[in-house]
């Protein structure tokens, strides 16, 4: 398991290569990439500042990955989340999961994203023409995370 919180950008090909490194038995990788959109809630977004709770972030992400590993057969996981100042089209987050079973890779990847969205201490502040605003948490994200408890 690799979990990183960083200001720097990341390269998808390199990260997936690192995930697979020395594991020729890996046949399936599901990945999610989150990007800064140029619009949100009807307003243009010029940039984003991602604040986090440094002492907790890594721990929270590792706990989410550990939960995923308990629920699904996973060979390798990589989670990278950026913090600091970002601009539209910038990469924010990568979650990549390798498993022998395609379905488990997809499920674990989506589970990690859903929990990251509701459990990991990150907060987005957007710069818009009307000024700076904190992004509101979405009820749909809470629902997405809660749905995993039913299974």
């Amino acid at each position: 398991m690799t979990v990183r919180v960083q200001e720097a950008d990341f390269d998808l090909s390199s990260e997936i290569a690192a995930l697979r490194q020395g594991r020729p038995d890996i046949g399936a990788i599901a990945a999610f990439i989150g990007l800064v959109r140029d619009m949100n809630a009807g307003e243009a977004v010029a940039g984003l500042t991602l604040e986090h709770y440094p002492a907790m972030t890594q721990k929270a992400l590792e706990a989410i990955v550990a939960q995923a590993k308990q629920q699904w057969k996973i060979d390798a996981v990589r989670v990278i989340h950026r913090v600091g100042r970002l601009r539209p089209s910038d990469q924010i987050v990568l979650v990549a999961v390798a498993s022998s079973h395609r379905g488990e890779a997809f499920q674990a990847c989506e589970f990690i994203m859903d929990y990251l969205k509701t459990q990991a201490p990150f907060w987005k502040q957007e710069q818009t023409p009307a000024g700076t605003r904190w992004v509101e948490a979405r009820a749909s994200d809470t629902l997405a995370a809660e749905r995993w408890k039913k299974t």
């Binding site: 907790m56 924010i92 509701t118 201490p121 907060w123």
Partner: protein, 85 residues
């Protein structure tokens, strides 16, 4: 009893403080007690930490709730619902 309390994002801005050390006269046995203590400051504290507000609590970097027990030296963080990813 001494506690470190951290505030993040909008809550940090609203309350105007990022971190404080609290040494209350009476021991606060749980998160609920700490919240009552902070609300008793009135004004923005009472408003921002009202039970109807959707803030979250972590104790020693783990998600917590009002019933979570507090011990001397704990680090408590208060923050809005998270919006990463």
């Amino acid at each position: 009893m001494a506690l470190t309390v951290l505030y993040f994002a909008r809550l940090r801005e609203t309350l105007g403080v990022a971190r404080e050390e609290i040494a209350p006269a009476h021991d606060l046995s749980s998160v609920a007690g700490l919240l009552d203590h902070l609300r008793s400051r009135g004004g923005a504290w009472q408003a921002a930490l009202a039970p109807s507000q959707p803030f979250r609590v972590a104790v020693n970097q783990d998600m917590a709730d009002a019933l979570t027990a507090l011990r001397d030296g704990d680090e408590v963080a208060l923050f809005p619902p998270v919006t990463g990813g």
